[in-house]
Point group: C2
Chain length 292, copies 2
Amino acid sequence: MRDFSQNHDWLSINTATIRKQHGAEVPLDRLIDQCAAHGVRAISPWRDQVAAVGLERIDRQLRAHGIGLSGYCRGGFFPAPDAAGLKVALDDNRRAIDEAKTLGAPCVVLVVGGLPGALDGKAHYRDLGRARGEVHDGIAASLEYAREVGMPLAIEPLHPMQAADRACINTLEHALDLCDELDPQKTGMLGVALDIYHVWWDPKLQQQIARAGRERLLAYHVCDWLTPTRDLLNDRGMMGDGVVELRKVRGWVEDAGFAGYSEVEIFSALDWWKRSGEETLATCIERHRSAV
Amino acid sequence: MRDFSQNHDWLSINTATIRKQHGAEVPLDRLIDQCAAHGVRAISPWRDQVAAVGLERIDRQLRAHGIGLSGYCRGGFFPAPDAAGLKVALDDNRRAIDEAKTLGAPCVVLVVGGLPGALDGKAHYRDLGRARGEVHDGIAASLEYAREVGMPLAIEPLHPMQAADRACINTLEHALDLCDELDPQKTGMLGVALDIYHVWWDPKLQQQIARAGRERLLAYHVCDWLTPTRDLLNDRGMMGDGVVELRKVRGWVEDAGFAGYSEVEIFSALDWWKRSGEETLATCIERHRSAV
């Protein structure tokens, strides 16, 4: 297992972690400068943040700082109430893949979507099996294009509490079953983004991480589970502040062959997004060394 | 599949559903009178509610009304920081079993517990594997006594969002693995309480319900998953108001041989607990017929 205690070479910052500072949205170019100032070697930016500043400008800035990507957030949201909606989703995923290619990302993270409309409180249908079928077909179609351009897709199993509105793939086992079905040759073009927040509770986690192996483990995200958790989406904890056995799980991931970045992704409307970016980044670095 | 549309013979009311009315706690004897007035044939009461009125008094009242039990809430919470704490939990479960026996319950529902202390925001340890081991041992010990007195134990897999603080058994598969380990003969003394709120998202739900079979399906709880869900514990929805395919899942449960009560368990600090018990009960009955 790698020693993280001496430096933060393998720390990546998911830019959602610092997208709000003192409660206000901060543009991505400013976030990148802050990361550079803290010696952060990699980030994982969100599409809306990139679009707000401009893809080429962000690309140039990253190159100038020598900052790489640990992933690109995000594709997915495949299910839709009708054929037109399904096509819109596929087109959008194609654009996400193109953007990731421009930025030199190692993978596009897929938050696959749940019941269409549920995110707005009005599900168009309630058939979870249908949504999962549409996810299957959407990934299959996107994978064709991803293979053409050489951009791996990383399915992110989301916590079951987000099954209705954000992603109906909710266990690592389920994600790997889909990978095996769509990419049985393990070409490296389809795998998983393993976010510890979503999967830490799973009794089959160790077993399924071993099953995934290095071919399927395309990204690894960390934060912590707080007790109590006051919000289903935006109350994630800083590593070390919650109950997740971070070091144990990283051991499993590294035993399976993963040797990439440990990406910090903290949605925290109630705490970290109220603080300064400097404080959040400094704490991420300290906890990367002491807790991850 | 049974036809529920003509009556509510197979409706049970978990008394948590109406324990607060207009925001205020209502004693169990009053709740039982309300259920009787609505022609409810079965309830599932909570230990603290029973204790507040008195076990014998509740027993007499239930008999007078001809109201049966669909379960008794609850045993469990086995993990503890030390040997003394583990023993306290075993003693408490023994008392729960005795009370259930007095009331003629078909089973004691087990909310097995998570990381000890996490419910108060201060986990004594973070080793989920240890907690699961203590749950295993706690159920094994309680099962010995349950067998002696003839009171089945029903493990309730809780939603993964409650893994840290309330129950570290979080899938039906995991619960059934434990049943098979501790009661391989399927004596009927160990099974599961299947609450649709906790398991509706599970891609293996249909498969595992079939695996459970009538020997393991000791109780069936319904409510609905709301979008958005505003609280991890107390924002459950009335059947029909959320996204769960209630009828499909009841079909699976009945195909597996379950022919008991459909028990309504709604924790709803934000909605139903603010209304009158009459309105909540009348709505449960209507939805039992139209949505369950």
